[in-house]
């Protein structure tokens, strides 16, 4: 399952962030991520060249902001510091807009694009994890704490992929609760001769 997710093409901000978080939490995954990228670096070196415009170099030189940003987080939000660095970097200096539902808080991490959503889900100890409300598959990555359902306990680093007909009642750990990253991607419909096959493949 993890292998599937790690080798899925990422061509959206949501899917890339999700994949990076998954890679960051589990060291083994991080190396797989790096292995993939090394393969791409290898091919980048060997691809044929396409000439760039004569003025591109000047544009680069003239546009460079030479000031370097200060990159150390001195004032650490206790909540943020539990999250993977990938997310911390993304959320730096941004206000997180939490929406509360009983004992669960949900915040959108990215502006919604097409049928993709990336959300942070903060589950209080013992609280029920909400089922997503729209069509599609949801990949849920445990960032902190754990949750359980009828089938088992899911700890930090595990990913569960749930389709919209999924039937279970997940509950946050009674002691630690759970913080999760939910990546929802709606079903993409393909039409035409290869429609059926591509629907299977894409979903």
């Amino acid at each position: 399952m993890t292998f599937e997710i790690l080798t899925n093409p990422t061509n959206s901000q949501a899917s890339l962030l999700f994949q990076q978080c998954l890679a960051e939490i589990v060291p083994e995954n991080k190396l797989i991520q790096r292995a993939k990228d090394e393969v791409s670096g290898y091919f980048l070196e060997r691809i044929e060249t396409t000439d760039v415009s004569d003025d591109l170099w000047m544009k680069v030189i003239n546009s460079n902001e030479s000031k370097k940003k200060s990159h150390f987080v001195l004032d650490t939000d206790p909540f943020l510091s539990q999250l993977p660095r990938t997310l911390q970097a993304h959320l730096l200096n941004k206000k997180i807009n939490w929406k509360s539902f009983k004992d669960v808080k949900i915040a959108s991490i990215l502006p919604k694009e097409k049928n993709e959503k990336l959300e942070l889900i903060h589950v209080m100890p013992g609280a029920k994890i909400p089922q997503h409300t729209h069509e599609g598959n949801e990949s849920f990555l445990v960032l902190h704490g754990s949750y359980s359902d009828e089938y088992g306990k899911y700890k930090q680093g595990t990913v569960q992929v749930r389709s919209d007909d999924h039937n279970h009642t997940p509950v946050g750990d009674a002691r630690t609760g759970c913080i999760g990253l939910a990546y929802t991607h709606g079903k993409i419909k393909f039409s035409g001769k290869f429609g059926k096959l591509l629907n299977l493949v894409a979903n």
Partner: protein, 198 residues
């Protein structure tokens, strides 16, 4: 036989330490035309491709001190910057969301241009492994990671069964991962801990 250190490691270090323009030009001259091919192949038109290259080069210039030669080879580091930038720019909102995810909360790396630091050959070993792979296997890796095709699409295109596609890619990735875990410096290799270097 000792392999020569990748010249871009030194170039990046010089950009980081002293904002050396000629080193930066070397990086630009080598990588821009290759990035352009990569970006246009993956769907960007010429103008957008050059815009992405321009922003990638700016990131390299301002964040060269974050490059760690122990973590990735120079082309890999540059590839990931361009790939992230491509995703940011090709989205409707164009927000630079992915630009800082690797550097915003990590401290810069200390200078790596030091000749006394043992040259870690693990990246050359990975390149050698890829050089030696049968072409159709190498192609699977290329389609999945460099061309961003899904396993299903690859199976469709190559007519290789889906399960076989997955297991071959998995095997290759595991091998490469294993090489990343090793310390590829001369001292370690001479102790016979790893397979022989050629």
């Amino acid at each position: 036989m000792a392999k020569v250190k990748n010249p871009f490691i030194e170039a990046l270090a010089k950009v980081a330490e002293s904002q050396d323009i000629s080193s930066f030009k070397k990086i630009f001259d080598y990588f821009s035309p290759r990035l352009k091919s990569f970006l246009m192949r993956s769907g960007a038109d010429e103008a957008i491709a050059e815009e992405i290259i321009q922003e990638t080069m700016t990131i390299i210039w301002t964040k060269a001190d974050y490059y760690d030669p122990k973590v990735a080879s120079p082309s890999t580091w540059i590839y990931t910057i361009a790939r992230n930038k491509k995703i940011d720019i090709l989205r409707k909102s164009r927000k630079a969301i992915l630009e800082d995810i690797d550097t915003a909360i990590l401290p810069p790396v200390e200078s790596k241009a030091d000749e006394n630091i043992e040259h870690d050959q693990k990246f050359e070993m990975i390149a050698q492994y890829l050089d030696d792979l049968p072409e159709d296997q190498l192609n699977l890796l290329k389609m999945n990671f460099f061309e961003e095709k899904s396993h299903g699409e690859i199976s469709e295109i190559t007519k290789i069964p889906l399960g076989t596609v997955k297991s071959r890619i998995r095997l290759a990735l595991e091998k490469i991962r294993g090489k990343l875990e090793q310390d590829g410096t001369m001292a370690n290799l001479n102790e016979g801990n790893n397979s022989s270097i050629n």
